[in-house]
């Protein structure tokens, strides 16, 4: 992966596959630390699955024997001297946290997180996303449940005018570290 925002998209994809209806992505940049947390209300994992989830040669898929998304994300956090943790409960959901030391030589850039968020929302208009981005100076929050309330059931979140609104809102929030 060339940027962390691609890893984040990959991890969020797991939540979508797990049947989540609400996915929260929280990026916090403070000093030379970047913390990324992703939580969902999907079907969760059993203890056995959770124990193996960071093993690249473990996957729940039956079509192949490797699952690289979570192991890659963990590796990228740990390479910078950061940490990685994941909790999950069957029927409740999954919560994952990765911390990066941004000044480390092995830190890859966060990249275009706005594009990741915009695609997740517009390609999954029936799901809800909460995106929070903190820096030392600002906090930006985008909650699709709020947008949905204003739009009613009449206008979907992937309507071109709504997409444009979300794009501009994200640009104002400027989610780069």
């Amino acid at each position: 992966m060339q940027e962390l925002s691609l890893n984040i998209m990959d991890i969020a994809q797991n939540s979508i596959v797990a049947g989540a209806t609400l996915i929260t992505i929280h990026a916090a940049c403070h000093g030379d630390r970047l913390a990324v947390e992703i939580s969902d209300n999907g079907k969760g994992m059993s203890e056995e699955q959770l124990a193996h989830v960071t093993d690249p040669f473990f996957t729940t898929r039956t079509t192949r024997k490797v699952g690289l998304g979570v192991p890659l994300f963990k590796m990228q956090a740990e390479l910078t001297g950061g940490m990685f943790s994941i909790d999950s409960q069957t029927g409740i959901g999954t919560h994952l946290k990765a911390e990066f030391v941004t000044s480390h030589v092995d830190m890859i850039p966060l990249g275009d997180l706005n594009q990741t968020i915009l695609l997740l929302i517009t390609c999954n208009p029936d799901l809800d996303f909460v995106f929070i981005h903190d820096t030392d100076e600002t906090t930006f929050t985008l909650d699709t449940r709020e947008l949905r309330e204003v739009l009613g059931g009449e206008v979907p979140l992937n309507d071109p005018a709504v997409t444009q609104w979300i794009r501009e809102a994200l640009e104002e929030g400027e989610s780069r570290c």
């Binding site: 079509t63 071109p160 609104w165």
Partner: protein
């Protein structure tokens, strides 16, 4: 600061327009492979290009969805087009530029871009 009032205006405008969104049989489905392999190979700019071009052209009969790994990781980014009454078309090693041409030639004009398909690229 973007305000929710703007969204309210979008809703009002949509209400005034006569809905032409029929649940039609001519709905084309576009599937973009967004598993780890697809994303690492560059699927995100491809997906963005497809979404932008569809929006620019105001195509109402196209649904774009993300899909997982379909098992041909060496050909990622992969885009599948499923149109009613036609064979599924699998485009491989896509880029944002190729995706724009695919939308225009295939989705708008109905001409498959043969040179981007798996048949032309698998050796």
């Amino acid at each position: 600061m973007k305000s929710l009032a703007e969204l309210q205006a979008i809703r009002e405008k949509a209400r005034q327009q006569i809905s032409v969104r029929e649940e039609s049989d001519d709905n084309i489905r576009v599937l973009v492979g967004m598993a780890t392999c697809g994303i690492a190979a560059g699927a995100r700019p491809v997906l963005t290009a497809i979404m932008d071009e569809i929006s620019k052209r105001g195509l109402k009969n196209v649904t774009v969805t993300q899909t997982g790994c379909i098992g041909i990781c060496q050909f990622e980014p992969v885009v599948e087009v499923v149109a009613p009454g036609e064979n599924k078309v699998t485009y491989v090693k896509m880029t944002a530029e190729k995706a724009v041409r695919m939308v225009n030639d295939h989705l708008v004009n109905g001409n498959v871009v043969s040179e981007y398909t798996i048949g032309a690229n698998a050796k």
